[in-house]
């Protein structure tokens, strides 16, 4: 066993010594930026073959040992780990990292696109800074998030990126309408729109009166609990129960009010509901 180990150690040291004796070596840049030219220096003499393997490019070229190898901007566009290999009698390799350049664009996504008013932690946004070659900028930078509704600032916060990501989460505002959300980084800006919509109806109240052709029943202007008018098209279900049976009409809100015509002739009890919200109940007497 000891004899085998001695043979293995002898071969290892011999190989290492032979590599050093050839005197070929390469020195990679300590830091490099995406899209910036750089050089790899070599030592020794004679001809060699140089290989560059990176996340976005690979290259092979014949070089002269002892001269610098020029890496063009095109070779270095993609950020990540690169491996430089120099082969003469033997091969030597060295790895180096290319980091993203200065932020040149900001990708910004906001969720959701519609949100009921006054909902806790309902709005979130994520921003990603990229350099001009679409490399994610991992160096921490400050991104400013701002929510504005009708020139009124609802929320403003500066967030430092972590691993290239900055994000926020906030409660939706109290007024229905469009909200502009801005993410800015230096002179870069990305804007998104968010629609704040009315929440469930609050105090759904109806009135009714008998007409020549039946009962005209309508809601008072339908609001949510924050006072926002429910959007047109929201369905209000009217139910009339009388001696003849039950009548139901799904009527859409138009200009804040839902109306329905019920044709019950006898004494009738009418109620209303919108989604899971119930309204009041009214009684209308029989047709005289």
């Amino acid at each position: 066993m000891l004899r085998r180990f001695k043979i293995f150690a002898l071969i290892y040291f011999a190989a290492t010594w032979a590599g050093l004796c050839s005197a070929q070596d390469l020195r990679v840049p300590g830091s490099a930026s995406a899209g910036a030219e750089t050089t790899v220096s070599t030592t020794g003499s004679g001809k060699a073959t140089f290989y560059l393997v990176g996340p976005g490019a690979s290259r092979k070229s014949d070089v002269t040992l002892g001269e610098d190898i020029h890496l063009s901007a095109q070779d270095m566009q993609t950020a990540g780990r690169y491996l430089a290999i120099l082969c003469a009698d033997t091969c030597h390799s060295s790895a180096f990292y290319v980091s993203a350049g200065k932020p040149a664009s900001l990708s910004f996504i906001v969720h959701p696109s519609r949100v009921p008013v006054a909902l806790n932690d309902a709005v979130s946004g994520v921003a990603f800074p990229f350099d001009q070659y679409r490399n994610l900028v991992l160096t921490p930078v400050n991104v400013n998030f701002q929510l504005t509704a009708k020139d009124t600032s609802l929320f403003s916060r500066a967030v430092r990126t972590q691993n290239g990501i900055a994000w926020f989460r906030t409660t939706s505002g109290k007024s229905a309408g469009p909200v502009r959300i801005t993410a800015s980084l230096d002179d870069l800006t990305a804007q998104r729109a968010l629609q704040q919509v009315a929440s469930d109806p609050c105090n759904l109240r109806i009135t009714g009166q008998r007409t020549k052709i039946g009962i005209l029943v309508q809601t008072e202007p339908v609001h949510d609990c924050a006072g926002n008018v429910l959007p047109d098209g929201t369905i209000v279900t009217f139910t009339a129960t009388g001696q003849d049976g039950k009548d139901t009409v799904d009527a859409p809100i138009k200009q804040g009010i839902a109306r329905a015509q019920m044709d019950s002739a006898g004494a009738t009890t009418i109620s209303a509901a919108s989604g899971v919200v119930m309204g009041n109940e009214i009684r209308v007497g029989a047709q005289p």
């Binding site: 919509v197 098209g233 929201t234 015509q261 044709d263």
Partner: protein, 377 residues
């Protein structure tokens, strides 16, 4: 001697044939249920032959001969009679054909008879059954049907101002910046679910609502899972749901699992899917005079009238009803297509059946109307 037996057999056969032609039962009608596979006879000397002749000609769309079997005292025109069978205005009846029938006498005298006919139509939405009581009278030695006058909804020429609400959908293009024009799917929620065993298998039903402020196209799927967590079967609500839900609208849904029973099921996984669609809030359809009654066959049936309060024709109205027990739990969901078009400002009756074993449990109900119009996609 060797010819005696054949001669006797032939004589008896001929005798019976003659007897069959001239002798009828006391009421002049056959007793029992007759299915629609009879032969056309030249002369309807019994009410049964009259109904067979009439319906065979209707099946063959031989309208002149079919109308000849209708008594002139009916006061109906041939055009109206044909329209009664073929439908109009793009209704479901206009896409259907009479597949078969089953008739049985209700009562009969020497001069008049009442027959109940179960008509089976084949339609694009599946088989449809219609039950009619037809009155027959004897005119000379021929029985003829007294066809009731068809009440065709007459819509007066008028201008109906429609300020209807409509949602259009503008989608982004591939060239848009990432995240710039995303529109979320509508938010829908299942608000109730109940799983029961029915005669034909397991049924999952309940109600779903659109909680959003935009219209949604909704589909509800259910997966039955066994004790080991493995899916047994997956089905969707198919047409047992009002797919397009306007904001805050509620629809019943029913998902059928034929030939499966809940004893093998550990849990049910529900999955509602909603996509944003263009939609219109018009026409508004009122569901009037809803009442549960027992029909002549002893079945519990929810009857009512659909009233089109808008100015557009609804070609194929579809009624979906959810039935609740006294605790407000959905115990059954039924649906039915109306085979007549719902013209503007007019009404059409509908009926949906409640299973016999559940009729005593039903405390209240809710009806929604699905509408298919030919001029809409």
């Amino acid at each position: 001697m060797k010819y005696a037996v054949p001669i006797i057999l032939v004589a008896v056969t001929v005798g019976l044939m003659v007897l069959g032609l001239f002798v009828t039962t006391q009421a002049g009608v056959p007793v029992g249920v007759t299915k629609g596979s009879a032969l056309h006879t030249a002369k309807a000397t019994t009410p049964q032959q009259a109904i067979d002749n009439l319906l065979l000609d209707v099946q063959r769309r031989n309208w002149d001969r079919a109308f000849a079997a209708v008594s002139s005292s009916s006061g109906i025109t041939e055009q109206a009679f044909i329209q009664d069978w073929t439908g109009s205005d793009g209704s479901l009846r206009s896409f259907s054909s009479l597949e078969g029938y089953e008739s049985r006498p209700l009562h009969a005298t020497n001069d008049e008879a009442q027959m109940r006919v179960h008509l089976n139509f084949s339609t694009p939405v599946g088989p449809l059954e219609d039950v009619r009581d037809i009155h027959f009278i004897r005119e000379g030695d021929v029985w003829k049907a007294v066809w009731p006058k068809v009440q065709v909804a007459s819509v007066p020429a008028e201008v109906i101002p429609v300020t209807f609400l409509r949602w259009d959908l503008v989608t982004g293009s591939a060239g848009d910046e990432w995240g710039a024009r995303n529109i979320d799917a509508p938010h829908v929620r299942i608000i109730s679910m109940n799983a029961v065993d029915s005669g034909s298998g397991a049924v999952v039903m309940g109600e779903v609502t659109n909680e959003d402020t935009v219209p949604a196209f909704v589909t509800v799927n259910a997966t039955l899972v066994d004790g080991n967590g493995n899916p047994i079967d997956e089905e969707s609500s198919f047409d047992k749901i009002s797919h397009i839900l306007l904001p805050k609208q509620v629809s019943p849904y029913r998902i059928d699992f034929p030939n499966l029973h809940l004893k093998n099921v550990k849990s049910v996984r529900m999955d509602e899917k909603a996509t944003l669609v263009p939609a219109s809030a018009d026409p508004v359809i009122g569901v009037m005079n809803q009442r549960i009654e027992t029909d002549p066959q002893g079945k519990s049936v929810l009857h009512g009238d659909l009233l089109n309060q808008g100015g557009q024709t609804v070609n194929i109205p579809h009624v979906i009803a959810s039935f609740y027990d006294s605790n407000g739990k959905v115990v059954w969901v039924s649906d039915g297509y109306v085979d007549r078009a719902l013209l503007p400002k007019s009404s059409q009756p509908f009926a949906v059946e409640i299973p016999k074993n559940l009729s005593s449990e039903v405390h209240s109900f809710h009806v929604v109307v699905n509408q298919y119009s030919l001029n809409k996609s």
